[in-house]
Amino acid sequence: MKRKIILGLALYSVVFTLAGFYVIHTIRTATADLDRLITLHQVEILREHYLLQIKKVQSDLTLMETPHSREFDTVVKNVMNMGRIIDTCFDCHHTPRGMERLNNLKAQTGRYQDALSRVLTIRANARRFAAEEDAAFRTGEELITQVRDMIAITTSRLGESTQKAMDEIERTKYILFGLVMLGPLVSAALGLLFITGLTRPLKVLLESTRKLKNGDLDHRVPELRDEFGEVGASFNEMSISLKEQMRKMHRAEQMAVVGQLAAGLAHEVKNPMAGIKVAVSVLAGEEYIAAEDKGVLQKVIGEVTRLEGLMKDFLNFARPQKSRFEPVNLNHVLNTTLTFYLKAHSIGGKNETTRIERDFQEIPQIMADTSQLQQVFLNLFLNAVEAMPQGGTLAVHTRLEEGSDRVRIEVSDTGKGIREGLLGKVFEPFFTTKAKGTGLGLAISRQLIEQHGGTIGVESRAGEGTRFTIRLPVTGKEEAPA
């Protein structure tokens, strides 16, 4: 938008500068036309003046040797003025043709002056004097004819030039009127265009803000251009984030309620269960109890023990233990936990169908709580092995993610996998696909990983297997647990 505004302003400036130059050029042209016209009229006046002066000299000549003859000095002055006028004509610019005519005129003027000089100075008999006077007069008349012809030609051209110049001035007038009227309209149109360009996306953003305020977190800002597009995209990201935070808060609230209920229930159930367990144990130790009944009692004791474990899980989930961070060699923790798990469950022997694949790449130590991580890994191993009742491959990989300060742990199996519709629910508490599962294992695992500032995700394909991916920061907890 900034670029567009700059471009728009530049365009606006260029348009108005060009218009300004055009106006100046037009005015200059019109002024030049007027100047030319004035000059042409001045030339016309000069020619008329010249003609008048010749006529005056002719009159002087005619009156010579009569009672009305003018003073010699006056005649000389008139003749000299006539010569000066024609000389003035040479000060102006002329076309070659015009210059030729002017030269002819000057030559004829010279001949006239010669003849006049002769008449003024000669002293001879009447016949000779009359002949000279007549010759001078005829030369003067020829000059007058020549000047008149010139005036006739130039008058016609002057008329054309005047009309042309006037037409040009008229055209200039209309152009200037047009520009004066068009200028504000163009300004208003450009202004409107800029204002619309600014206000329309602002209006869209304002509308989106209002919808967000009214709780419509699914509303998304439609695609906008330029910087407004970036603002819109940020707005949409904010909506998505807000929705996620709202979901987390909602879940946290749910979990708090469930946790409180579970804790209260566990606390209430724990003591009676302990009493039942002790009582049944005592009963099972009595000699009068038949051996087959003792077996039943032992099963009761086993179920009570399982219930105690379940109660413990509830409490752990509801009131999670605080993490004690220390430098941890993650590969070592994983290896130890896996070995322990395999031994404890007698997995990996010669006759086992479950294959174990370890791929531990070199990773730096991280800040973590070892026991909590062991709990998470054990849970994942357990789920993996249980997902492969017919055997398969349990693979554990670690690596340092390129370009980030995180380590990645992948635990995958080649088991039955999770159906697509259920994949999003596996981390929800009390969700389980097992007959005897509590639905808290993965929920607690995610809780612990998030306590470490990490993330846990799952990918699965039904019938092909499941892969859990944990990402943990090298430097320790990055964010508060959800």
């Binding site: 010699f72 000095d73 000389v76 003749v79 000299m80 010569g83 002056q113 010669d114 006049l116 000089s117 002769r118 003024l120 100075t121 000669i122 002293r123 001879a124 008999n125 000779r128």
Partner: protein
Amino acid sequence: MLVIGLIPEQNIFKQLERYEPLARYVAGKTGTKIELKLLPRYGNIIDNFQSSGLDGAFFGSFTYSLAHAKLGVEVLARPMSLDNTSTYHGLIFVRKDSGIRNARGMKGKRFAFVDKATTAGYLLPLGYFHDNGIPDYKTYLKETYFAGTHEDVVYDVLNRKADVGAAKNTVYQRLAKADPRIPGELVVLTRSPDVPENGLAFRKDIDPSLRSRVRDALLSMDRDPDGKKVLEQFGAKRFIETTNADYAVVLKYVEDLHLNLANYDYKND
């Protein structure tokens, strides 16, 4: 202000144009306004000197001699031409095809003088007729007239308006340079002795300091860049100091013709 008269040596308007730059230059150097006054005839300068309020004039050699004798004017300077001469002489010429080769051939012909107050244009032919035993040219010739300028005399003979003409050599030669018909078609029969070129003379009661300033301005023109340009335009190399002694040759000529300057009738008939 100084009023300076000009005699019609050539086309009077060209004459005026020729002298105007010189007048402007001298006016600038002396701080005195100068007005040029054109005179239609040589003799007018004698008549009009006082009535027209002239302070000075560029006189021809004979006109100066007359004016000095009648009015007491005093010469101070005259131009030296580009070929280093400060004198001129008169010529009598005819068309080559006229068949006229001497005074006898002129009998019954038309003669064009310049003015009665000119050395070249009148005194020379007067002396010529005198020397050839023709006491009255008016009866000897068919027609005589005064063309008024040396230039007109040359062209009148060239254009067959007159059969014989008399004019000064400087004008004749200047015209001959511009018009090849003149050397090609005209032939000079005789010439007069050299006389001083037209010089500037002032009335006798002129302010001596003004006279001195004008003289200095004229005599130093050739050493001043602006003055040089004006001289070039005027057609002269420089101005030289001139005194009455320079006109002795004219006076001798007048004496030989038995003319009396004091009562000489300079008016053209």
